[in-house]
């Protein structure tokens, strides 16, 4: 049985539904991310697991025991808050030792474990510092040490990296993943940053308006998005109108005049097609015709906007030094049929 189970968890505030029947089973040692735009219910879900928000309905079990019956202070969860929430009047060592004090751990043992925790996050030299004299990244690591030292059953992280600048964020992402792996701890991270989610997680829960649209590993969610929302939230995608003519086991999908053959799956009629910019290439002939309207340089990549009969298509090509079409050129876009997702109807 899974370690942490959310069973049809819901939270309503009057008329508004913040979390809608969320079900999730997390294995021990797994790193799961709740990903979505602000207001999608991810933080509310985390707070319900932590015990600071009461669910309207549903159940949470941890290690086969009902978590909702336990008051927050006895749940044994380590929490890293978005604002770090360090105790300003205590030193780093006192901050980290706090949880152990509450557990009644003896002083000698406490000091040993605090030292270990600080070494784990690379802050051994900062034990006597006060939080206000430290940088954001350092404070974040203190918060992490403080949460980990109590040997929690689950580690909860509420957008812990959102206050850091881009470079530091990337470094911290790697460190976080390393620490989580080395300590073998089950972790639940909340973020709105899809690159962060994809880099850190074993599985991602893509949330929208309180519902989980897809729960899958990053590559599956990216390559096989379960809905247009997931497709557009994870990475960039092109959504183009198409026409499907199904015939037995095959279907012909026409986009702006060009035809692809796929396995049948979608009924004949109007449809929409989603294809990632990096899966589109420039064909010598055939394919979807268009004119390059804009080509912008992004260091490792080129981003091209191509106007076609099916609308404006975004194409991303690696800056590998090879030739690329210029603005104003006539081009033909092509992609593999399996790189394209087809959904019935005109899509959203």
């Amino acid at each position: 049985m899974a370690f942490l189970v959310l069973d049809r968890l819901s939270k309503r505030y009057g008329e508004t539904v913040a979390v809608d029947q969320l079900s999730l089973a997390v294995e021990k040692g797994e790193f799961v991310t709740l990903l979505g735009p602000s207001g999608c219910g991810k933080t509310t879900t985390l707070l319900m697991i932590a015990g600071f928000v009461e669910p309207s309905s549903g159940a949470i079990t941890l290690d086969a025991a009902d978590l909702l019956a336990t008051p927050p202070r006895r749940r044994g969860l380590g929490i890293v808050f978005q604002s770090y929430a360090l105790f300003p009047h205590m030193t780093v060592a006192e901050n980290v030792a706090f949880g152990l004090e509450m557990q009644g751990v003896a002083r000698a043992e406490r000091e040993k474990r605090v030292r270990e925790a600080l070494a784990l996050v690379g802050l051994a030299a900062f034990a006597e510092r006060f939080p206000r004299k430290m940088s954001g990244g350092q404070q974040q690591r203190v918060a992490l040490a403080r949460a980990l030292v109590i040997r929690p059953r689950v580690l909860l992280l509420d957008e812990p990296l959102s206050n850091l600048d881009a470079k530091l964020r990337e470094e911290m992402q790697l460190e976080l993943r390393q620490i989580q792996r080395s300590v073998h701890i089950t972790a639940i991270l909340v973020t709105h940053d899809q690159t962060e989610a994809m880099a850190l997680s074993d599985r991602i829960v893509v949330m929208n308006k309180g519902k989980a649209e897809q729960i899958a590993s990053p590559d599956v969610a990216y390559e096989a998005p379960a809905s247009p929302f997931v497709a557009s939230f994870l990475g960039k995608t092109n959504v183009l109108p198409a026409d499907v003519r199904a015939a037995g086991e095959e279907a012909a999908v026409t986009v702006g005049g060009a035809v692809w053959r796929t396995a049948a799956g979608v009924p004949s009629g109007a449809a929409s097609v989603s294809v990632r910019p990096e899966r589109i290439s420039f064909a010598a002939e055939g394919g979807l015709g268009g004119i390059v309207r804009r080509a912008s340089f992004h260091g490792a990549q080129w981003l091209l906007l191509v106007e076609t009969a099916a609308g404006v298509v975004t194409v991303i090509r690696q800056n590998s030094g090879g030739p690329l079409p210029k603005e104003g050129e006539q081009v033909a876009l092509s992609w593999r049929a399996e790189d394209m997702r087809v959904t019935a109807g005109s899509g959203e």
Binding site: R74, L77, A85, L86, G99, M102, I150
Partner: protein, 266 residues
């Protein structure tokens, strides 16, 4: 922003003179070497300050005021803290009403408090007692204590308390180890402001004090009604000195502007 012209500075100088004049004159008269009301034109003397010691009435009244101030301030803070936490943290039915009620003593004339308490204490047997004084003063100074404690409580980050709870702290331990230390500066300033307000209070106290248990301002007030002499000026001057010292402490602790005017500097 434009600078102040000479006219403005003159106005300012006159205003300052106006503000300071009565206080300065009290201090000046206090140092007179003469045996009667006069300015110390012949030199300064401490005779009237020494005379205070010969007036046990004033000395007793001083200690009463001191203890009264300390007790009232402490009780007012003790009662304010839970209320401030309630107001700052929760949205509940009756929140606005509670805030208004706790600030209401400011709207009621001190005289009215005086007679209301006089009647109330007479009926309940607390008339003229120290306990009665304390109760009366606590009500009067509460709004001042509450205002400062509330500011501190509102500034608290809830997440820090959540962090403590998630680490296993009970409600009481969270309060004692985390919340209290963080609002302590606000508490201290609230205490000092409440103390000063209680110490200076005269109008209400005049009604409920008895000849045996009376405060210094009331004693001064009653004395002045009969005659004005350098003795009363010396007592006042001593008080003014203490107040100025308290003001400096308060300014260092909290900032006098912030205390009297509130936050809001751009």
């Amino acid at each position: 922003m434009s600078r102040n012209g000479p006219l403005a500075l003159l106005f300012h100088a006159l205003f300052i003179a106006f503000s300071v004049a009565p206080i300065a004159i009290v201090c000046a008269v206090a140092f007179t070497p003469e045996g009667y009301l006069s300015l110390p034109t012949r030199g300064l003397s401490l005779r009237w300050f020494r005379a205070i010691a010969d007036n046990p009435d004033f000395v007793d009244a001083f200690w009463t005021s001191l203890w009264l101030g300390a007790l009232s301030a402490t009780l007012a803070i003790a009662v304010s803290v839970p209320s401030a936490l309630a107001l700052a943290r929760y949205r509940f039915v009756g929140r606005e009403a509670l805030a208004a009620i706790l600030q209401s003593p400011l709207m009621i004339p001190q005289v009215v408090f005086g007679i209301a308490f006089l009647r109330f204490f007479t009926e309940t047997g607390l008339g003229g007692t120290f306990a009665g004084l304390v109760l009366g003063h606590v009500v009067i100074v509460m709004p001042f204590a509450l205002r400062l404690v509330l500011t501190a409580a509102t500034g608290l980050e809830r997440e820090i308390e959540h962090a403590a709870i998630s680490l296993g702290a009970s409600a009481w331990r969270t309060f004692r180890r985390v919340t209290l230390p963080m609002i302590l500066p606000g508490l201290a300033s609230g205490w000092v402001l409440a103390f000063i307000t209680s110490f200076d209070e005269v109008t209400m106290t005049v009604f409920i004090a008895s000849p045996r248990t009376t405060t210094l301002p009331v004693r001064l007030f009653l004395y002045i009604q009969d005659n004005i002499d350098p003795l009363v000026a010396a007592v006042s001057a001593a008080l003014i000195g203490l107040t100025v010292a308290a003001m400096v402490v308060l300014d260092r602790l909290y900032g006098l502007e912030r205390l009297l005017v509130g936050e809001g500097r751009r």
